[in-house]
């Protein structure tokens, strides 16, 4: 009999992370003691201003950027909105065409749809292959005379596939088109040097990198024409009005510093755990397969489809055993359709409802992985027994290979 322990095993780090205690420690004094408004012309305000400047310098160093190329925002979503709306509106005299992909986060997709619907922009949504990858050639082919912005995510939040940002950046440069990448999922594990990556704009946020929620930033290369989407007191060089979230900014900078410093070692550890999880599940449970790229994937992501049963049911069962994961099933989405990413990689509808995402992180241990491997086969067997569906794995895979 399996003991249900009260301790939860958190395998949903792509949704959000806990705060690193070292980050919290850094932030602590900016709540009650150093509470100043960086815009105030007094000693308390000046100290707050200094704290932000220090944070900005630290982040600029990591990104290989200049401090005045960093704008602090409220979330990753806000940064994406500023990057896309801000750039295309400021450059619409050059053209009104945007290139992005079908597997972007809704922050990008919904912003593009809004611009299409209300402001007359045209958007090309690049399709991905069965691994969820786009190619630089695809991007080059889609560039038109009136293309003003390319926005491709660094790594996908659901299936973990890492996109060829560097190469796409080269193409963008060659054609003198601005290039934005949503790097929210890549902040912990990937190289963020904007010059290596050839990006003009890059979005990051705190809540995915063991930093505070409600924090985000946008890197904007010097010389990029951009307008604000929020107006007011003119903070952040006029690009993001509103009193700065001083503890948040301090925390974001510290979180980025820590995870970037520790990434080599941590990536190795996570990859080992991730691969064990993938290998054990797909070999122990029949009719399962990995979604996303087999190697070009985030060290912390394992997205697995389990045939004949539905994702929400699997998830809730796992949750009963204290395991917190997430699902791409229709039941967990806003609409009644399965995840747009799972559909974009070509999974047929009948298989799209059974995907589970495990995203591991700094607190994940081998024991946690073993627990999943121990309880999941029984859960799947149980739900399959009561399911009237019995698909053939070969039939499903055949449909995936386009």
């Amino acid at each position: 009999m399996i003991n249900v322990k009260s301790k939860e095993i958190y395998l949903d780090h792509s949704a959000t992370t806990y705060l690193d205690p070292r980050v919290k420690k850094q932030m602590d004094k900016y709540f009650c003691e150093e509470f100043g408004n960086p815009g105030s012309f007094n000693t308390i305000g000046l100290r707050a201003k200094k704290a932000i400047a220090k944070a900005r310098n630290g982040i600029a160093n990591i990104l290989g950027a200049k401090p005045n190329e960093i704008v602090f925002t409220g979330t990753g979503t806000e940064s994406v909105n500023l990057a896309i709306k801000g750039v295309v509106r400021a450059n619409k005299d050059k053209g009104k065409h945007i290139i992005t992909t079908t597997i972007e986060h809704h922050a990008v997709l919904d912003t593009c749809e809004y611009l299409e619907k209300y402001e007359g922009f045209k958007v090309t949504y690049l399709e991905v292959d069965k691994y969820g990858s786009v190619t630089p050639e695809q991007v080059e082919k889609a560039i038109r005379k009136d293309t003003v912005l390319i926005s491709v995510m660094y790594a996908n939040n659901e299936i973990g596939t890492i996109e060829p940002i560097k190469e796409i950046g080269k193409i963008a440069k060659k054609h003198k088109v601005l290039f934005h990448t949503d790097a929210c999922q890549a902040g912990c594990s990937q190289d963020l040097n904007v010059n290596n990556l050839n990006v003009d704009l890059m979005t990051l946020n705190g809540s995915k990198i063991y930093g505070p929620k409600g924090t985000g930033m946008l890197y904007i290369r010097k010389g990029v024409r951009i307008q604000p989407i929020i107006h007011g007191g003119g903070q952040e060089r006029g690009l993001r009005s509103g009193t700065e979230n001083v503890p948040g900014i301090v925390g974001l900078a510290k979180a980025l510093e820590l995870c970037q410093k520790e990434k080599e070692k941590e990536n190795q550890r996570l990859i080992k755990l991730r691969d064990k999880l993938i290998k054990e599940i797909t070999s122990k449970i029949p009719k399962t397969f990995l979604n996303g790229h087999p190697t070009k994937r985030l060290p912390n992501n394992a997205n697995i489809t389990i045939l004949d049963i539905e994702g929400e049911a699997i998830m809730l069962y796992m949750n009963k055993y204290g395991i917190c994961a997430s699902s791409g099933s229709a039941c967990t989405s806003k609409t009644l359709d399965p995840s747009h990413v799972i559909m974009a990689i070509g999974l047929p509808y009948e298989a799209a409802h059974g995907s589970i995402r495990f995203s591991i992180g700094s607190r994940t241990t081998e024991k946690d992985i073993d627990k999943v491997i121990k309880v999941l086969p029984g859960i799947v067997e149980n739900l399959r027994e009561i399911s009237p569906v019995n698909l053939e794995l070969e039939d499903v895979l055949e449909k995936v290979i386009k």
Binding site: M1, I2, V4, K284, D308, I309, E310, G311, E312, A313, L316, K320, Y321, S329, A330, C331, T335, L336, D337, P338, P348, Y349, E350, A351, H353, K374, V375, P377, G378, I379, E381, N382, E385, I386, S387, P388, V389, N390, L391
Partner: protein, 221 residues
């Protein structure tokens, strides 16, 4: 060694913080009247069988009934479901409703609406209401199948409703209800009923019906 959990192993600590009510949780983790495994289903001698939905839609259920020919009461109601927690729980609850107190009469069972099941489950999140409660439709199919097998074809009823989406058995009544619930566009109705997700051929007819019911209840645009 992996051990198979039994339903009784799953301890719950009250519904607080959970997405569903305690009753839903109870029926999800301990579903009643199941036919476990394909073998068991094959062996089961039913008087009527009904299927609704498909894996592509995200929900599918199959229902088997045994009927006492003299009293026309449902003696047994077995089922299998592919779907989320509320799909599993609502089918389990339905199977209990029609077999309790000596079994429900067929005529009464044909009248069961999703609302009746949800009432017994205490509540369901609104967005789960129309999409996952498909058990009543599977049951009607099973009863009609029983009528067919017992040569009582004249009694086969669709509850005055016309099936619009043949894959999902979504009827004009369902569309009417969705419009009354505030849906104004096809997208709205689809969100509530899943109509046309798989059976695209029904979309024009569905759109016409939505306009019809909108005008009927809310006047011309």
């Amino acid at each position: 060694m992996t051990k198979k959990p039994t339903y009784a192993d799953v301890k719950t600590k009250g519904g607080k913080g959970w997405f569903y009510t305690d009753v839903v949780k109870e029926h999800f983790f301990k579903p009643r009247n199941l036919l476990r495994t394909e073998e068991e289903a094959k062996k089961y001698k039913a008087d009527g069988v009904g299927i609704v939905g498909s894996p592509a839609c995200g929900d599918m259920m199959k229902m088997w009934i045994k009927v006492d020919p003299k009293t026309e009461r449902i003696k047994e109601c077995k089922w299998q479901t592919f779907g989320c927690a509320s799909a599993i729980a609502s089918t389990s609850m339905l199977s209990m409703m029609v077999t309790e107190k000596g079994g429900m009469k067929l005529d009464k069972a044909l009248q069961i609406k999703p609302q009746d099941i949800v009432k017994r489950l205490v509540d369901l999140p609104p967005r789960k209401f129309h999409c996952s409660v498909l058990g009543d439709k599977a049951l009607r199919e099973a009863i009609n199948d029983y009528f067919k097998k017992t040569r009582k074809e004249h009694r086969i009823v669709k509850q005055g409703a016309k099936v619009i989406d043949k894959q999902l058995n979504v009827t004009d009544k369902d569309i009417e209800e969705a419009v009354l619930d505030g849906a104004t566009t096809f997208e709205d109705v689809q969100k509530k009923t899943k109509i046309g997700v798989h059976d695209k051929s029904c979309i024009p007819e569905a759109e016409q019906l939505i306009r019809f019911y909108r005008e009927k209840y809310f006047g011309p645009d």
